[in-house]
């Protein structure tokens, strides 16, 4: 455990040793701010119009019309950000030959993989801290449901956990960071698009069956309920298995360095 933490800490620090960490932080806050202001503007406009509608609801639910769409749409920033954050994890280490330090130390491959994974994941969780002023604003101005808010952050965390696992795996396959990033982005985009493909299919016959399969495999669809405050065990199991699978492939890949 100590070794895992030591490696994680080193990876986490590395982000701040280069401009990468600070740029990501700025970019992430800027982009989420952009999304937040768009949805906030949209929400207040709707709410204002609604006041003149005699048949409309008495008030517009802030969770349903602001929190959920904001968190759901801001997912896409992570889709672009995560591959950029994971690309160097193994690629750079191998290219600079510094991986040799880890491989000749009395630590296991599992510790190396988990250390790097948790370090990178930890960095994104730090980024999330930079978004806490949005909920703070809403709590100050309105009355959102704290449970839903927490569930939304959980959905981001789960999604990032999956993205980072794919990115780590991609990075273990090549010494070229650019290739690692493109590979990770390609895989993630595929999982992303599964959700779209599913939406365009009919619900009966073969199309229906295919729709079920795609809907099951889609990563994004899993976060939708969570961003409404609904945490299914099956979704957690899905995310857990997803991460475990890609970490396992990474582990096997790193083991294979010794055999080539």
């Amino acid at each position: 455990m100590g070794n895992i933490l030591a490696i994680a800490k080193r990876e986490l620090r590395n982000y701040f040793a280069t401009p990468v960490g600070w740029l990501s932080l700025c970019g992430y806050i800027l982009l989420t701010g952009f999304f937040f202001s768009i949805f906030l503007g949209f929400y207040s406009e709707q709410a204002a119009t609604m006041g003149y509608d005699p048949y409309g609801p008495a008030e517009m639910n802030v969770d349903e019309y602001l929190v959920s769409p904001f968190f759901g749409n801001a997912n896409i920033i992570l889709l672009f950000l995560c591959p950029a954050l994971t690309m160097r994890l193994f690629s750079e280490d191998r290219k600079a030959k510094s991986l040799e330090l880890l491989l000749t130390s009395p630590i296991s491959t599992t510790e190396i993989v988990l250390g790097k994974y948790l370090g990178a994941l930890g960095f994104v969780l730090l980024l999330f801290l930079g978004t806490l002023h949005y909920p703070a604003l809403l709590f100050w101005m309105g009355d959102p449901d704290p449970g839903i808010m927490a569930s939304c952050y959980l959905s981001w965390t789960m999604m990032t956990a999956c993205f980072m696992a794919v990115g780590l795996m991609a990075s273990s396959f090549t010494e070229n960071q650019m290739v690692a990033m493109i590979l990770a982005f390609g895989i993630l985009l595929m999982f992303w698009l599964l959700g779209w493909a599913e939406g365009s299919l009919g619900s009966t016959g073969f199309q229906g069956n295919l729709k079920d399969v795609l809907s099951f495999a889609s990563l994004v669809n899993r976060t939708e309920d969570m961003q409404k405050g609904l945490i299914h065990t099956k979704d957690l199991v899905y995310f857990g298995s997803f991460v475990a699978f890609f970490l396992f492939v990474t582990h096997q890949r790193v083991e294979a360095y010794r055999w080539r």
Binding site: A6, R10, A96, K97, S98
Partner: protein, 301 residues
């Protein structure tokens, strides 16, 4: 102590190391020699457990490197040809990180002691990326030394250093070798091996071509290079080329002649033959370099 048994490593169709066997007793400093691509680095990486062998095994006091990697790795310090540095870290953080990974109990104490030991104290607060090559090499040594291992594996520790840095690193490594450590050192600078090592293992194309104490190797395999210069070379060349024990004679400019001999000392005979022709200079050197060339060429033939 270190026992390499019938070690083979193949990368696809190419064989990097083939049935290599040798032993290194405790406390001995062994020079590992061979031309580039001979399989030195591969062998060293297998010994340190960073690479798996295709066949054969490596044991440290009877413990297999691949069956008990944790125990064995704790006892080995490895300096690869390219030091495994995280160049974005500060020296002190890096050494502490290495100490942590190597399973040292007193991380801070061990790191400070190592930093002092290898002469990194003046730059301990600096980022490795900003250091000179010599200091970086010291960081590499620090990483190999921080857990006070009884085995040191050094792969080309002098490559890319300028002469002053080379001297410093050589002195440092000499000191470390004297502290009852078992050391395997690879280099192609033979002077370094002659200065430090008690024994050499010579490999070429993945195969052992010779091993033994330096003194014995020079005795058994000791072809000698004799260079002389005479005032009147005419006629002497014919005499030397038929002299028993002489393998080859090469005439040079202005009466210089160099010849390579079979094992056995025939300096006296050569000198006696050369005196009537006006002998001006004479030297007969017997170096690892010549043996090395001789052995690797023989293995090729």
């Amino acid at each position: 102590m270190i026992k390499v048994e019938k070690l083979s490593k193949r990368y696809g169709a190419t064989t990097a190391v083939q049935e290599l066997s040798f032993e290194v007793p405790k406390g001995e400093v062994v020079g590992f020699l061979g031309p580039n691509g001979a399989g030195k680095t591969t062998t060293m990486r297998i010994i340190t457990g960073s690479l798996g062998a295709t066949e054969g095994r490596v044991t440290l006091d009877g413990q297999d490197v691949f069956e008990n990697p944790r125990q064995v790795k704790k006892r080995i310090g490895y300096l690869p040809e390219v030091p495994p540095l995280y160049t974005d870290m500060k020296v002190r953080d890096y050494v502490r990180f290495a100490a942590r990974l190597k399973g040292v109990d007193d991380i801070k104490g061990a790191a400070e002691a190592t930093i002092d030991r290898v002469g990194l104290a003046p730059v301990a607060h600096r980022i490795i990326d900003h250091l000179s090559k010599g200091f970086r090499q010291r960081c590499g040594v620090a990483q190999a030394l921080v857990h006070n291992p009884d085995v040191l594996i050094l792969d080309e520790p002098y490559s890319g250093l300028d002469p002053a840095q080379r001297m410093e690193i050589r002195d440092l490594l000499k000191e470390l070798a004297q502290e009852d450590r078992t050391v395997i050192l690879s280099t192609h600078v033979l002077a370094d091996i002659e200065a430090m090592c008690e024994r050499v293992v010579i490999i070429n194309k993945g195969k052992m071509v010779g091993q033994g104490p330096i003194s014995e190797l020079t005795k058994v395999l000791g072809g000698r290079t004799i260079t002389l210069s005479v005032a009147r070379p005419e006629g002497l060349l014919d005499i030397l080329s038929v002299m028993p024990g002489v393998l080859s004679v090469t005439p040079g400019d202005a009466g210089a002649i160099s010849l390579f001999t079979e094992p056995g000392d025939i300096r006296e005979q050569v000198a006696a033959a050369a005196v009537p022709y006006g002998l001006l200079e004479f030297s007969g050197r017997q170096s690892l370099e010549d043996i090395f060339l001789h052995l690797t060429q023989q293995a090729e033939a």
